[in-house]
Amino acid sequence: MGQIQVMSEMLANQIAAGEVVERPASCVKELLENSMDAGAREIRVSLGEGGISFIRVQDNGAGMVEEDALLAFARHATSKLKSPRDLLRINSLGFRGEALASIAAVAKVLLQTRVPHSSQGIQVELQGGQLMTQPQPVGMPPGTVLEVHQLFFNTPARLKYLRSVQTEQSRCVAVVQTAALSRPDIRFTLEIEDRIVFQSFGRGSLREVLAGLYGAGEAAQLLSVTAHSPDYQVSGFIARPTQARASRNHLQIFINRRPVRNLALYQAVEAGYRGRLMVNRHPICALHLMMDPGLVDVNIHPHKAEVRLSEERDVAEVVQQSVTHALEIAFLVPDVRAPKAQSLPTQQTRLPLTSVDNRGSRSYQMLVREKETVLQPTQSSTTGISVDKQESNKTCGGSANYKENGLDHDLNLQDTPNLANLRPIAQALGMYIVADDGDALYIIDQHAAHERVLFERFSERLQVQQVQSMSLLAPMTLHPEPILYEAALQHLQALTELGLAVEDFGSQSLLIREVPAIWEGLDASVLTEDLLQAVVGTDRTIGASDVLRERVALQACKSAVKANHSLSQIEMEALCEALAKAKDPFHCPHGRPVLIRLTNRELEKEFRRIV
């Protein structure tokens, strides 16, 4: 008798579940996507023990009739895709018809659903993929409730490799927050152990959602990004360079409202910040890209976080340009604010994505206070969403305050770059120029300012002149990584323009004949690798010439005035004037700030002229 047998359906489902549902957070993600695809305007998520013992997702979406409710748990059953053609133009978040089947295979699931025109909902209970009871009628508001109990109760191996409750919980929170960013028009509420830890208002304002994540103060400082091209539309917010974080976790990119991970796009955003961020600092951003679904392939992995873009370079370029543009028109002078002593005792501060923000000051506190009062009455979450009518009214009331408190005003604050009126007053501590422009006091780091001025002068020169090169006496062979080798072959012309003449030497090696004639002691092989690395990156010409720019920056740095170098009034005036003309007067070539501002209002506050 043969050894090979067809697996039982249950076993097959358990195996497949490993791909789709690997931890509570992925379960939450799948359920949220279903709710969003069902056209919900409001989604409530509750978690118990980090989602391991209990996940509940309730929406006010389309709901299902009895027949659908049963079929929904079958593998490869979906309402989202009807023909193979649909696969090329996916408009929904889900489409594989695997999520519910997979979740049901590894947990105890309770489904309650009601279509709006029906007078009652139905309830279905499953355990390990098996129907436990026949569908029963149940009273509930329209929409769907899906409860997942004891995830992985029948797959001990999976359970064993889960992280701590705290870790799993923070992952779930991140999933909900990301979903809220992807759909500012949906009201999201996340409860953990009957406490609301995150909530969005569903009024379509992305900045409002970001305020919930980072605090109103931080959110008010974010810069708006918009760009249109025939094929793509970019909108969203990016942080000022001063708000940069130490990790890339705060880069959120959505393609057609789907959160995606795409290195090329991350790099494009960071390239947009070029020269404005310090080393190892990463920006915060929430960017929505809208494009024809035909231009993006999401059917790569069951998680759908990785996507393939048919014109990745084009998309990256649009993103980079929009980011650069937003930063260029912004007035990026950090304000000096006296630290506030009040702490913000709210649940918000405990969220992984949320930072305690002292600068958020009054408006943020008001906002939080509003939230707390509003949310308390509806803490017990087993009841339906109908109760929320009252609550949402209240929230609207709250949002009125929220506006009055000046956040919206801040949001629309137009930054007007104007350093032309800068008038130096004196030099302080041997390294700072104190200046004013009639409205505010500026403190300028003389070294950073001079560096910036020299850097722009040098790079201009580099742009005007073609990069000159010198031929090596003996050509040098280089054995780069295969990916760099391929990149080099594709961009021989671009490299030549940068003064680096490279030839294919066969068998994965390159022959370097000419090197750029930029300063002495140049390490040809290291430079070549750097240039190639840059070429492999998203935006090749800009990226590669950056490597040369870095060398320029170094030179600029060396000849800039140092600290403890006393400057005369004339020198300070000349420096301020040159700085005002710089393209980016706000950052030195290494991304440190050049000047900070102390506004008249802040001074008046500190001297208690206004309270």
């Binding site: 090596l472 006496l473 390490d523």
Partner: protein, 375 residues
């Protein structure tokens, strides 16, 4: 361990070896100087594991050195050299009474310096049956001066930070290159030894060695083992590590026919380039342009921000085509300095090929430079 020594002789001895004292090292004993007293000789040694210098002084009847009892100790170089330098120029007494505590007495001054056990000091490389050869110190200086400047200072390609030293059929050659320029010097060795060698010696070490070479001519013995080389100058022994790895083959990159050959006065040529380099100072590559037309050389440089300069000099002799070429002025000035003759012969093959400089009528000294490409 106990000896009396004249301050000036001791100072001289310590200054000689102190060039090999390690400055930044986690191993403390390397920052010291090893003093070793034998029956009739005082040895001083410093060794930073890259280079090592050992010098010695014998007991003489005039009383410069008087040895009372032998022994050895390592004293931190920074303190020992400064202490001895500042002592009055009379006889001083050096004695180790307590273990590892050196007492230095001179006149009314009395120093007690903590020392380190001499057994901890690394042993200098041993040269058993090594190849050896004796040349004039003046010639050795010329060998080093003509090549060392062209060695690379970047550790990316370690062999290029060394000087390739070869001996073949009685001819010794020193070559160094950083990939964009090359300095080479070769000479027949009078003794004409019947062996050959091939070693890469760190250029930094050899530059350090030139500081030890005396002004007047004296024989220097070179010894070579697989991993080290030793230069013996009188009583001074200079050890250096060799760089491992094969030196690139440079025979093919030295052109053997030229389109243009000019002979110029070295000082005139160098001064013109030096002046033109003033304008090119802030440029990325210190680039200077040279135009040869009607037996006249025009050196020029311009900077959009600073201004421009142009200077013409007559050539002594010109053969071949006119040309325009651009080069890094630093490279050419250094090569001219290495050539060190009153006149220099410069040979070109068009604007974009490497050009050479050497002493007219002599082929043993060659400087090769890659120009800035003109497109």
């Amino acid at each position: 361990m106990h000896f009396n020594i004249s301050q000036s002789a001791f100072n001289q001895l310590l200054q000689t070896v102190s060039k090999a004292v390690a400055t930044r090292t986690p191993k403390q004993v390397l920052t010291g100087i090893l003093l070793n007293v034998e029956e009739t000789t005082l040895h001083a040694t410093a060794y930073d594991l890259e280079i090592g210098i050992e010098d010695s002084l014998d007991v003489t009847p005039d009383g410069t050195l008087e040895i009372i009892s032998p022994g050895s100790i390592v004293i931190p170089a920074r303190y020992l050299t400064d202490v001895v330098r500042k002592l009055p120029s009379t006889l001083l007494t050096f004695q180790v009474s307590n273990p590892y505590m050196a007492d230095i007495r001179s006149g009314t001054a009395e120093f007690h310096l903590h020392g380190i056990d001499a057994a901890e000091f690394p042993k200098l490389p041993i040269f058993h049956s090594a190849k050896s050869l004796t040349i004039s110190s003046l010639l050795l200086r010329q060998f080093i001066r003509s090549s060392a400047y062209a060695a690379s200072t970047l550790e990316a390609r370690p062999t290029l930070t060394g000087i390739h030293s070869t001996l073949h059929m009685g001819q010794m050659t020193f070559t160094a290159t950083d990939g964009l320029r090359l300095g080479m010097f070769s000479e027949n060795i009078p003794e004409n030894p019947d062996f050959s060698w091939d070693a890469v010696i760190p250029a930094k070490s050899l530059t350090e060695l030139t500081k030890l070479l005396p002004e007047q001519d004296m024989p220097v013995t070179l010894e070579l083992s697989n991993s080290h080389s030793l230069f013996v100058i009188g009583k001074t022994h200079f050890y250096t590590r060799l760089i491992e790895g094969a030196y690139p083959d440079i025979s093919r990159i030295i052109p053997n026919h030229f389109g243009t050959t000019v002979r110029v006065d070295t000082a005139q040529f160098a001064n013109a380039i030096d002046r033109a380099a003033l304008i090119a100072r802030d440029k990325e590559n210190h680039m200077v342009r040279m135009e040869l037309q009607d037996r006249k050389i025009t050196i020029s440089s311009n900077s959009p921000e600073i201004g421009n300069v142009s200077e013409s000099i007559e050539t002594i002799e010109t053969v071949g085509d006119d040309l325009v070429i651009a080069f890094n002025s630093h490279y050419v000035l250094e090569a001219l300095r290495a050539t060190g003759s009153d006149q220099v012969q410069v040979q070109f093959n068009g604007s974009n090929q490497p050009f050479t400089l050497h002493i007219p009528e002599e082929q043993n000294n060659l400087q090769l430079i890659s120009p800035v490409l003109m497109r």
